[in-house]
Each structure stands twice: as structure tokens, then as C-alpha cells.
Symmetry: C2
Subunit: 464 residues, 2 copies
């Protein structure tokens, strides 16, 4: 009899081809022009889940406040009475591919180069989400049934705030009853180093709009006329200073410093600052608050980043105008135990306070996510660590992520579900940037890791 | 016999209709897409100059460094031997009309409302330049010849820096031999108040480009990764503080304070700060360096304005990216006796010095103009002031402008030509902004003012 592992190894090429088909669907959730593509991706996944043997497959229209309204994909197989139940979470939407001219191959034409698969969504998160489906398919293929109960919940709004799934999870539906969740939307700390992520930053994503006049003015009035852009620059410069410190009073009061043993474990991670700077950041220098290690800056300290600024004259040549309106898109990343609501209140009132004379400012919250810290003293995390160690032949490390996966906090808060964040991305995968990729070896060994973890979890007694 | 004044009054409607035809040509010089329209405007004016009786009409292709390459229009009539020669300067190009959705009537469909003519270029400068042509046409019509020698030099690159005409003037061509120049590209200090402008600010128009990484990054690295936009905000905030003071060391060392009697004359101008704020600026407040009067801030102090910022994610929704590149368009207005070259050197080296850690900055000069101060002790200025007083029934005032007209400095420097800046715009004409307009009464009385000034100048002995 073929084992699930044998099956997965024998079907690597087909699994990869199927992933490419999914990656060709440009499911950019933030762009209304791609609305139909997003739904097409959802339908495609629902069809695939049905094909491999799952039941109750359906699209769930969400009731979040998001105007995008991309559906959740749900499926289950619950014929292992008395056995553990696992909830698989992933997302089928992707970031916009812009700037297009920096891609070496088209973002929606998956291309293999040097052992990697290049495409928007390759690693974030279609490729990683697809590993779950292929692991379950392999289990089905080997035994004709599964050794444990499974549920899938796959969303299409992760890149736009995930309000739909948040609203759904908040209703505590019976659909989500499980012992633990698996989320594969994070990275390995180093190539070949099995990694479990146990902490995530939260976020407040905002727009800051400054108005200086009824309409644009000739800059001959400069010196007496307020300028929305000059004012915006002053505001942004006051939120975070050049040394990387956030200057909003009180906002860091609730920051929980990492425990001493967690901090020590970070110090023992294989980390070369120079290589990180060159390979991952691609910048001239690592910046930030030098009182903290680079890991602590990214994993355990809040930050403030401007994502873009719009308005005024930005064409070729010269237009001597004082623009009436300037808009910045900017966010703060939050860490345990900051609260998104409290942080936004302090952020907005600070901006209103430091707003320069002569202009008005409006601060809008686009979306928010709470930070998460996962307890590691549970059998699922231990089983996951041990499965990964077995597949990769190295001790599994525990890290955090500087990014945000809002669903992890939601599952924890509303359903008391522990999340196993078993991620297979690499630091140079160009997430959210041109030339996003997924290492092919990680795709295949990721499927094996999940397989082994599921087989092991099936032998453990349910905790719920 | 009909006088020139009678002729101008009898043909007001035709003159206005002809102006509308010219305004319908979207001669946006900064936009390569409008290249043919700009040339069409030049040809249209050349045809009109020929029609009214001028000679040697031609387009002059310039040899400036500008890639736009819009031609000069030249024409003359030199059959008044021993009489004065006047050089008319104007420009036929216009600013971009954006933002289009703020125009109440289309920018290139001239529309009369409430005694005004609304269109891009209505006052800046097609409408004012066209007054010169109509004044000369009226003189021809009355006498079959002119009482003095005239030359026209009309450019198509004023709104993009005027490099072509600057290069042409620098060659001191015989074409430009004259006793004085008339420039109608400025405003009246108040409605109905005849005004001669005797000072202009210069400018350095620049691009500031900040780079923080090879390519855009996921903002999960925020806190350790440099951010081009955060850095740009710090740079811009350091150039001018919130009180309006430029912080670039030494840049104001050569600023010439206005003479005591000029400052006194400014204090006696009819000026209501509250009305200026509401009507002209349309802002909540007048800002700037409170050590100086509002006039002095605009006319006799340098300033720094950001015109627009480009880059990063600015679409609908959220993209959590740290943009690798941020670009600001920004300028400094200069005052007598600052030099554009020296100012730019100090500006660039200051920006390089204050550039935050971890990013690189490049500062590019897009174009520059020297500031100008016109001596008022010459017969042409006196004749102009007296002609205007006669037409408008009030004493002519002498003011400066916060804007820049590079050609004025060029004519002064290369040809020692005094400029008579006889402008008929109004402060609420929305120059460079949506809903640009020209007051119809000013168009018609402007023609009469120029007519009377020319008749008076014809009686004065040439000075060259």
C-alpha cells in the first residue's frame, strides 16, 4: 500500500502544475477591477476541495463592512468520530502586482527559475494554502479516508483587512469547532531551518489627509499661503523620529517585552545582519531603535511606515502649484499587548495636536488587526515542531513575525483556538513586492511536513 | 477719423471672440501629449500677427536644453525711423488644467460668467498677451501705420521654465533691439487699481528623490528597514520650519531688504488680510514668518513649497508596503539679490547633509529663474503709470509679485532692456488652478491702457 508520503512524492509535478493554474487567476482583492477574478479563484478552490473528497463545500458570503465582499470558501470532512479536528486557514487573494515594470516574468504567468516559482501569490498565500489541500489529498489517496476530522476556511480579503472573516469568526459558528488551526502564511527563519511562528504584530492602517485651501494656488503666494504637503511632511516627521522612536505619548505603555528565555532563543538564531541587510532588505543600512536587536525591532516593537503619498503635481516637468490637498497612506504595526482601538485613538489625537497652523487634518482608519502571541505549551505545537524536525532534519525554532495575520488573533479571542503557524516562505521571497516567489523545495517539503504533523495529531486525544 | 481708442471700443466683441478661439487650443507646454497643440497655438498667433499688418513674422526654433522645443513667435514693424521701439513679450503656453473635476466649465471651452471669461490661459497669459496684439491692431486701424516701431516675441515654454527663450535672449540678437519691453503677465493689486509690477521672485524648481532599498518591501520589516517616504518627510520638514523660516544655512545672506520708501508704499496699499485670506488664498489662515508683513513674505522673502509627491501605494484600500522610492517636486522662490545657482548649491548640499540614515537622496534642478527688481526712474515706467492713471481714474501703484517671469531678468541682464510690467490680472483669477478666469472689463481697459501708453511712448525720444 502507498503511504500518503509516497503519494505526495509521486505527484510533485502534478501538484506544482495545479498550483500554477491557481496562480494564473489575478485575484487582487483590493482592486475592484479584479472582483470577478477573486470570485473565480474562490470557485476554483471550492471545485478542487470537492474533487479531493471534502464535503459541505460552499462559498460563504460575508457580512463584514468591507465593500469588496469576497467570499469565504468552506469545506469539511468529519467522519473520524472521537478523533482530533483541525481547521485549515489560508487566503486565496493576493496583493496588487504593481510596479509591473520591475517583474522579470509576468506576475500572473507562474515561471520556474533557479528552483523557485515566480508569481504574485506564489508564497503569499496561494502556494502555502495549496500545500494544505495537497497534504489532505495525499492522506485521502493513501487510505481512502482521513485519520482525523478536517475543516477548511479560506478567505479572499486577507490583503484588504479581512473584515469579512473577522465578522464571521466573531459569530462563533459551529462550522469552526476544532482542536487547533493550521496557518501557513509565515516564513522559515533561514533556508532549511524548520520554523514555527508564535507571535504576530497587529496593525492600524490609516489615511492622513491634509487640506490647506479651497483649491490649488499659484505658488507665487508661497510664504503666506499654507501648503498641504509641507504640513503633511511635518506631521509624518513628528510621528516617528529618525532614530526610529515613535513619539506618540503613551502609545507604548502596554508593550509587553519578550520574556527573557524568548529573547535568549532569538539571540541563538542563525542571523547575519549584513546578509539580512543585503538579501532581505536590499537597503544601504539597517535602521531603527538601536536599544533593541533587529529581531526585537521587527517582532516586539511597534513601528510607523508611510506606504505612499498622493496629490499635487507629479507629472513630467514643472507646475508651480500649492496643492490644496495631500493624502498619505500610513500604518502602525502593533505588538502584544497593544490594542488597535486604543492605539488609533492616541495616533489620531496626536496627529490632530501636532498639525501645523493654517491647515486641517483628517485621520481615517482603513483597517486594523490585533497583535497575537501564541502559548507554546500545548500538544499541537509540540507535535508540529517534532514533525518539522523529522522532515527537515534540524531542530525546529520558534520565532515571531513582523507582519500581521488578523485571523490568528480572531480565532484565539473568539474561539480559543490555538494556531499552529507552520510557514515555509523564505526571507527573500519578495512578499508584497515585484518578483514574489516560492522555493519549490519548500513547497514539496512543506506538504510533507503538514502530512506528518496531521498523522501525528491524529494519534493525540482531542483537547476540546 | 476714428481714433485707435474708438476702434478698440467698437471692436470689443470681436476681440473677445478671437481670444476665445485662441483659448480653445490646449497648449499645455509641459505635457508631451499636447505638443502639436502648442505648435498650433504658435501658428495661430503668427497668422494673426500677419493679418493685422506685422512683418517678418516667423516661428523661431529654439536651441535651449528643454526637450519640449516649443517655438518662439517673432514679428515686427519698423517703419517709424527715429521713433521709439517697443518689444512686446508674452507667452502662448498654459499650465496643465488638472484637477479637471474641479472646473465648473471645461478648461478649454471659454465660458463667460458674471463678467469674467473662464478658461485655462484666460489671464495667464493668452488673454493678456492678446491685449498687446489688439492694441497694435487698433493703432494700425486708426492711422494705417504705427506711431512707433514694434517687435513681438512670444514664447511657448514659460510654464516649463523658458529655457528656449533664455538661450535665445542670451545670444543678444538684433531682433530684440528696443528701448523697452512690455510684459503683461502680472496682476492689479486690487480691482480697478492700476498697478505696475517692479519686482519678481526667481525660482529653483527641483526634484528630490529618496531611495531606501533595491525594491519595495513588505512592511512587516518595518522598524528595521529604511522607508523612503518617512525619510522624505524628514527632509522636507527640515528645509522650512512650521513658522515659515527656511533653515538652509547662508541661503538668505544675500537677501536685499526692500528700501524704506518701498516698504512704506506697501503699507499704504489697500489690503485687508481677512479678505485676502478668504478670497485669494481660500485657506483657514495666513501663515509664514511673522517678522514680515504679508506683502514682504510674498514679495521680498524666499520660500519653499512642495508641489507634489509621487510613489508608493496610493490606490483604494490597503497595501502594506515599504516603498523603495519616493519623489517630491519642490521649489524655492528667490528674491533680489539671491542667485539661482548659489541657492541650488546650498539647497542640494543641505538636503544631502540632513538626509536620514539608511537612505540615499538625489536632488535635481528642473529649471531656474533669477529674481528681478526694475528701476523705476525711467521715462517708460513714468509714461506707463500716467497712461494707466488716465484710463482707470486712480493713481497707479507700484508693487512686486511673488511669482517668477524669467524673461524679465534675462532682458535686463543680456540686453539692458527695462521691462514695463503692466498687468491686468486679479488676485482671485485662479492662476495655475481650476477655474482660471480673466475679468472682461480688465481685458478691454487693458487694451486701452496699452494703447494710451504706446501713443505716449511714441512722443518720447528713444533712449537707445
Amino acid at each position: 500500500m502507498t503511504t500518503a508520503l509516497d503519494f505526495a512524492r509521486q505527484h510533485q509535478q502534478r501538484f506544482l502544475d495545479e498550483l500554477k493554474t491557481l496562480l494564473r487567476i489575478p485575484s487582487v482583492s483590493t482592486d475592484p477591477a479584479h472582483r470577478d477574478h477573486v470570485r473565480q479563484a474562490a470557485t476554483h478552490i471550492a471545485t478542487e476541495l470537492t474533487r479531493i473528497g471534502l464535503e459541505n463545500v460552499r462559498l460563504i458570503e460575508t457580512t463584514g463592512t468591507s465593500p469588496t465582499g469576497h467570499p469565504l470558501v468552506y469545506a469539511d470532512w468529519l467522519h473520524a468520530p472521537g478523533a482530533t479536528t483541525v481547521l485549515f486557514y489560508g487566503h486565496y487573494d493576493v496583493q496588487p502586482p504593481e510596479p509591473l515594470d520591475e517583474w522579470l516574468s509576468p506576475p500572473f504567468e507562474p515561471t520556474e527559475r533557479d528552483g523557485n516559482l515566480y508569481a504574485r501569490g506564489a508564497v503569499d498565500d496561494k502556494g502555502q494554502m495549496f500545500m494544505h489541500i495537497k497534504a489532505v489529498e495525499s492522506l485521502f489517496a493513501a487510505n481512502g479516508k482521513l485519520p482525523l476530522n478536517v475543516r477548511f476556511l479560506i478567505e479572499g480579503e486577507e490583503e484588504v483587512g479581512g473584515e469579512g472573516i473577522a465578522a464571521y469568526v466573531a459569530t462563533r459558528p459551529a462550522d469552526l469547532h476544532a482542536d487547533f488551526a493550521i496557518v501557513s502564511d509565515t516564513s522559515m527563519f533561514a533556508p532549511g531551518l524548520p520554523t514555527l511562528c508564535i507571535g504576530l504584530r497587529g496593525m492600524i492602517y490609516t489615511e492622513i489627509e491634509v487640506r490647506s485651501a479651497r483649491s490649488d494656488l499659484h505658488s507665487g503666494y508661497g510664504g503666506a499661503a499654507p501648503n498641504s504637503f509641507n504640513a503633511l511632511a511635518h506631521i509624518l516627521a513628528k510621528i516617528k523620529d529618525e532614530s526610529g522612536q515613535i513619539l506618540i505619548p503613551g502609545i507604548q505603555d502596554t508593550v509587553l517585552p519578550p520574556a527573557e528565555d524568548e529573547r535568549r532563543s532569538w539571540q541563538s538564531l542563525p542571523f547575519d545582519e549584513e546578509e539580512f541587510r543585503e538579501t532581505v532588505l536590499g537597503s544601504q543600512a539597517i535602521v531603527g531603535d538601536s536599544r533593541f536587536s533587529v529581531q526585537e525591532r521587527i517582532w516586539a516593537q511597534p513601528t510607523f511606515d508611510v506606504h505612499g503619498i498622493r496629490g499635487g503635481f507629479t507629472g513630467v516637468g514643472a507646475k508651480t502649484v500649492i496643492p490644496a490637498k495631500a493624502l498619505a497612506k500610513a500604518s502602525m504595526r502593533l505588538v502584544p499587548n497593544m490594542s488597535a482601538a486604543d492605539s488609533f485613538t492616541r495616533y489620531r489625537s496626536f496627529i490632530e495636536q501636532v498639525c501645523p497652523p493654517g491647515v486641517s487634518v483628517e485621520v481615517r482608519l482603513i483597517h486594523s488587526a490585533e497583535p497575537s502571541l501564541i502559548p507554546i505549551d500545548n500538544p499541537w505545537i509540540r507535535a508540529a515542531a517534532s514533525a518539522m524536525t523529522q522532515v527537515w532534519g534540524r531542530e525546529t525554532v520558534f520565532v515571531r513575525s513582523g507582519g500581521s495575520i488578523p485571523i490568528v488573533g480572531d480565532l484565539q479571542r473568539h474561539l480559543a483556538l490555538p494556531c499552529v503557524m507552520m510557514g515555509f516562505g523564505l526571507a527573500d521571497d519578495n512578499l508584497h513586492a515585484p518578483n514574489e516567489k516560492f522555493c519549490l523545495r519548500n513547497f514539496h517539503l512543506g506538504i510533507e511536513s503538514i502530512l506528518r504533523f496531521l498523522e501525528s495529531a491524529a494519534t493525540l486525544p482531542p483537547t476540546r
